[in-house]
Symmetry: C2
Subunit: 252 residues, 2 copies
DNA sequence: CGACTATAATTGGTTGAACCATTGAGATCA
DNA sequence: TGATCTCAATGGTTCAACCAATTATAGTCG
């Protein structure tokens, strides 16, 4: 054993040697082509048999790569004579599904969800005020009208669906795709949550929507943000109380 | 053509008939078992050959299902004698990768990214003040110290890495996994962005970090949020200006 | 001529058997 | 005891088919 400490190779000099699987190499190449604009939305990749040849792998391995890109939301696979692997127009489906899975796994608790929802919703309301178009406003008004119709018809499920859509429409009016995706993801988790604790009428939601619409019409961002925050906080208390009750109701 | 409008089947009465592929049926079953707690973190699924038998499909098809769950972040596949498919402890890797892909696809523009970053970062700073432990504070202080060391050593890459980590640590101190994931996702996109426009020293970041640490020590949430917001806004102007310049520099 | 129909070609979906590569536990030996 | 070897278990990959959905095309009938 040497008495003197040998020279240390500084941290960061090495990277972990990752045994890259064949299909990962393929997805990486395709991702690169996306990043470099060599592939763009709507393009169709060669047929599986051709691609497998080009990459020099078996069709099964290639399919694992395509499957991986499909799940990642980058590709859409269509059957038939004019089918193939098409570059998807990037919606955030994969992100939404991913966050939804985390909720399913139990790593995200309802209070985390509502907290994030308040934060995102408030900011979305503020931005939507500044950037909404007339068409956005019209869509939101139609949504609120439909929610009222569903309420009168006593269709709680439909009403909940329309309510989710309101947040999605509002996020789109904010004209920031990151916020759109985050909103969709949070609302999808909320949907699971609501299904677990059961639908319940919230008499204060509709009046709040009306006030929010008024603020949007007037482009009063502070009022819109405040209205959204107060409504969501109220909803949060309501939901968490229901959740506690349902959790106590049937302990495993 | 009938003169009278026939009775309409109300919207929502039908669902699109989705030709479910075999591997989708498998992933759905496994997801269900996750949701019902029949499978939990750390569990190992039977070997591929056994599982394929149980589901009554070929091993290739089963593997596409496993691959899909792996990409979705629910499973980890390990080789070797004690290998197999393990239920992952849910980190948000899949979500981070998904958002990162959207940025790569060009659907998310830098100004969208920085806007979301300001919003999330500000709220994270506020919550971290309220919920940080002594250990969180210590980790953040160590991070700042390392950033200073990297600055002195002139290692811009390392310095950038440590800076990303600061936001991640701060998000963890906020004790909300949703915000942790969102922060990681936004920082991952920021990393791509920075790599595209090149590293650049920002002399005002380090002093801001010090002020932020002071606010965290004092648990002064408003001060922390204000400091974070002002720093990010300044950074935003800086980055967007660089981006404009680099975009003009080489127009396609 | 036009509308419908049968057919063929193309493409993704699935199968089954085989072999390779990695990993770690247990047997073996100095 | 401890280092080494062997080997079984497991995921990774390949190959060669065949199935199923979709659409272009040629053909057929009114």
């Amino acid at each position: 054993m040497p008495a003197l400490r040998p020279t240390l190779v500084p941290r960061g000099a090495f990277r972990p040697v990752a045994t890259r699987r064949a299909f990962e190499e393929i997805t990486a190449q395709i991702r690169d082509q996306l990043a470099s604009q060599a592939l763009k939305t709507g393009d169709r990749l060669p047929a599986e048999r051709d691609l497998a040849d080009q990459f020099g792998v078996s069709r099964n391995t290639l399919r694992e790569a395509l499957r991986s890109l499909e799940i990642g939301g980058l590709l859409e696979l269509r059957k038939g004579a004019t089918g193939g692997a098409f570059i998807r127009e990037g919606g955030g489906d994969a992100v939404v599904a991913g966050l939804s899975d985390l909720f399913r796994l139990g790593n995200i608790r309802p209070e985390h969800l509502t907290e994030a929802r308040i934060m995102i919703g408030t900011e979305v309301a503020r931005l939507a005020c500044a950037r909404r178009t007339a068409a956005d406003l019209k869509a939101l008004e139609a949504n609120v009208a439909e929610a009222e119709a569903a309420t009168r018809a006593g269709d709680l499920v439909r009403r909940a669906e329309v309510h989710y859509e309101f947040h999605s429409l509002l996020a789109r009016a904010a004209k920031n795709p990151v916020l759109t995706i985050l909103t969709d993801a949070v609302m999808e988790m909320t949907r699971h949550f609501i299904e677990a604790i059961g639908y319940q009428p919230n008499p204060y939601v509709m009046p709040s929507r009306k006030r929010l619409l008024a603020a949007l019409r007037a482009k009063n961002a502070d009022a819109a943000a405040a209205e959204m925050a107060s409504m969501l906080r109220r909803l949060q208390r309501f939901h968490l109380a229901r959740f506690e009750a349902s959790a106590k109701g049937k302990p495993k």
